[in-house]
Symmetry: C2
Subunit: 598 residues, 2 copies
Amino acid sequence: MNYSSTFIPTLREVPADAVIASHILMFRSGMIRKLANGLFAYLPLGLRSFRKVENIIRQEMNAAGALEIKPTVVLPGEIWKESGRWDSMGEGMLRVKNRLDNDFVVSPTAEEAVTAIVREELSSYRQLPLNLYQINTKFRDEIRPRYGLMRGREFIMKDAYSFHRDDESLDETYQRMGRAYRRIFKRCGLSVIPVKADSGAMGGSGSEEFMVESNIGDNTLILCKKCDYAANVEKAECAGDHADQTQSAETPLYEKIDTPGVKTIDELCAFLNTSPQTFIKTLIFRAVNVELDLSGAPGCSALSKNDNAVYPEAFFAAAIRGDLDVNETKLAALLKAGEVSLASDSDILRLTNAPVGFAGPVGLNSLPLIADQSVVLMKDAVTGALAKDLHYRHVAYGRDFTSWMTGDLRTVKSGDICTVCGGELYEKKGNELGHIFKLGYKYTSSMKVSYLDENGKSAIPIMGCYGIGVDRTLASIIEEHHDEAGIIWPVSVAPYHVIIIPIKYDAQVKTAADRLATELEEAGIEVLLDDRSERPGVKFNDADLLGIPWRVVIGDKGLAQPSPQIEIKRRSEKESRTVDLDKAAEELVQKIMEELRN
Amino acid sequence: MNYSSTFIPTLREVPADAVIASHILMFRSGMIRKLANGLFAYLPLGLRSFRKVENIIRQEMNAAGALEIKPTVVLPGEIWKESGRWDSMGEGMLRVKNRLDNDFVVSPTAEEAVTAIVREELSSYRQLPLNLYQINTKFRDEIRPRYGLMRGREFIMKDAYSFHRDDESLDETYQRMGRAYRRIFKRCGLSVIPVKADSGAMGGSGSEEFMVESNIGDNTLILCKKCDYAANVEKAECAGDHADQTQSAETPLYEKIDTPGVKTIDELCAFLNTSPQTFIKTLIFRAVNVELDLSGAPGCSALSKNDNAVYPEAFFAAAIRGDLDVNETKLAALLKAGEVSLASDSDILRLTNAPVGFAGPVGLNSLPLIADQSVVLMKDAVTGALAKDLHYRHVAYGRDFTSWMTGDLRTVKSGDICTVCGGELYEKKGNELGHIFKLGYKYTSSMKVSYLDENGKSAIPIMGCYGIGVDRTLASIIEEHHDEAGIIWPVSVAPYHVIIIPIKYDAQVKTAADRLATELEEAGIEVLLDDRSERPGVKFNDADLLGIPWRVVIGDKGLAQPSPQIEIKRRSEKESRTVDLDKAAEELVQKIMEELRN
């Protein structure tokens, strides 16, 4: 392809709203342009690399036995009402009514669409397992889209949905998808950190996220300094620490203490001259769409499940050691709730009979208490006393109160102890490129999918779900592969493999450049020939900016040698070297093909 | 690919709403499924053929020098307001507000998006011509979507937009696109009829549609029995006919005649005992968004152009010979109007001072009169007299009235005379697959695109626009290539090239089938191996339904021959023949590759 026949509007300036390398470099190299906030158009150069990432994903998905389909981007609202997500998805989902007043959704994800398709066709266990995927347009109405393709409103995702007879079959596909994802990111030249993750609003359990380190990342990763433990903070676990052991063996009977005007843990520490580790913090949460069975739970006798088999609203108390924080994602997962958030002051007053700051587990009968594991070990603790300006001390778990449920609610932090090896944990910011997770029966059950098993009995299939953001993967490649002059593409995803720069595109230089381009293209190498009448410096700068892996420079001086010479340079290396014009094509083809095979 | 490893849910029954072959067969063969009215999901088999059509289009576009880009599907409303189409596009365009109250459009077409991109980048004449295309999702909110993919709400279009310095450059690209379109449809095995067309709401002039004959077609085509004249009825012209010659040479002075209770042409014919050819029919039209300059036109002194340089509303009278019909598309083109429709009864009363049925050209000063060419020749005509129950006779054009404008308003019908060769014209129903047209300056002017020409002066580029409906092209291939048993794919767009049917997938038959499949696949042939444990009859029926071009049957009997035999059959032929198992792969590869090269 001649440079003048394509459309690569490079820029010297950095767009005002671009702060990260991929955003800056994709703009400057003419790969993308902005149509509106969070809406980007790929120009020809950008689309070439985009398609390569897309095709790597497609190849690996096909190789792993997944089957490509293409549902529409605009989906009927009905199926979202069936699954219950019409209500639960929030304002990030773009809803639209057409002229006939039908509800539609501009697809943010496709569990419902694929489940609806499979529901109609599935009849026998012989059709399972089935793994369907699409590579298609998605829309999420980000309030604050930014960082270019990293957090756009419209984007392309590969999303796969698998259906299975049992957990073993699901696990087999889940593991296979995990391996495919590792190959995909490796082929794209990306260093990803696979981390254990909570599956969030998608429902279900058993999930792994594929993260790239990024200081603008949405996610906090918890990593171990000694072993390869890695988890999203939403899911990360840690071992009990020394603070758990500091309780006295024999605890006096608990007693009231007056704590006038003391509300926060810090104030209480100062007042009692002790440390937060000796307190039990009790927080009141409001949960929506709770799947967990609450029949018989304290204060829940008036609650009942709605048509979607969930409790629309329920309140819980969560108790945790005073120096620790409750992880709302873990709490939501434990409760099988759509969302969990701190209750309002008025709800707290109504439920605890006391203003904010005086909730405590002793005598709390108005709602179910969930105790973090840190609390279970506490034998001589200070707690709120369910009344203004009043606390208890010498409170012991098991003697003075028990919980309706115990679990791991703790937000893990740098310095906590690894459950696997006892090493020290630390934090990193990360961006999620891919996510695989076991969905369970959430959609197949709510949308009533069934098949006949080997015994002719009706059964519900179990689902898995596997996504990769294609644009974000592309942008992340640039984040990892660039320098101050521009992009440094891995060969596998480079828009062209070779850029040929004739010092002046004329006479014998033109002849040599054209011939080399033809030889390379006939061997399957993608060539950009810079035929512009620009100064060599401009061409070199653009070549560095565009990041084509191999640069060939052809000039009169080299061609005048007894055996005509040209100059070859890798974008990733500083030095160029001269090679015989006649041998250049062969060498380049060999090296590029070798890298593409890897 | 083994049949049992993919997902091809074939059906015996025909879906209730499917009435045309492509809709029925794509459902029955498991190519597509319906998500909602007008919204279809491609299943794996359908997507394979879809991608082949898409790639043929992509290859031919690239070969013709067009550059692929990818704007978003959801586009900002602002650019539609700039072009004026936010108002003029009607309810077929899906508009949506996001949570921040920004206006968006789910893209029905992309003139605005591409023009907005080019506007930012275009600076010099050296960047022109530029031809950018996308293959992307579109949405049009059809009130009554039907015929499966033929008229869906969401669909995939290839749309290209070219920018030029002058008419010559535009024409060069326009012609090249026309040639590319002919190659695309030929490679897809389609017989298309290229017809002259009106460019409709897109604006501009100079356009060609690529039609396939279809009795459910939206379009009426006018074709000549003698020459290759072909035009959309919206644009078709015909020669004057004998009726134009029947007027008397000398016409008496015109006079009033009482026509009590006579309103229609038929009633008038009966009343005067004559034929419709002797009447001048005068119709009142309301036109919106008129670009034509109306300053000085009768009754238009109060009108003025709005911000988009159009008259939002204007009224016109159109006069035509009594036996002919006014073609609203032609009238709109003549007036450079966004849309033209018959005026309401109350507007007619206000403008003609008479109830509906008595409008006439004599003394009509309240609005501009557009006369069809048929009227210009009339020297002794009957017309309405602008008063209830009153007509004139002996009316002559030029003597008793003239028009503000004359033109071709006539709707051409079967039996009219070809302007090219004098042959007889006839009608056909057709479906539009592609459309190329010269847009002119509509978007570059309203959206203020400019560049510096060779003399350093600011100039506005002229545009062309070129679309193909990918889904509709795919469905049309099935319309043209099927029989009562199923689809008969051309090799170029077949989901697989060969289907191998082992009579029983076991022992030596399995070994032979697997080996043949491997040999073919290694040679680049796409194979579907029917490994199901179904009866041979079921497999044969499914193979015919799926329409794979080559069928191979392998059974114990053939393999038991001294030189093992298998059976080969083309889907398009009745008879099969036996070939040596050892030579089958070579023969199939050779034949298929030969067809793919064509």
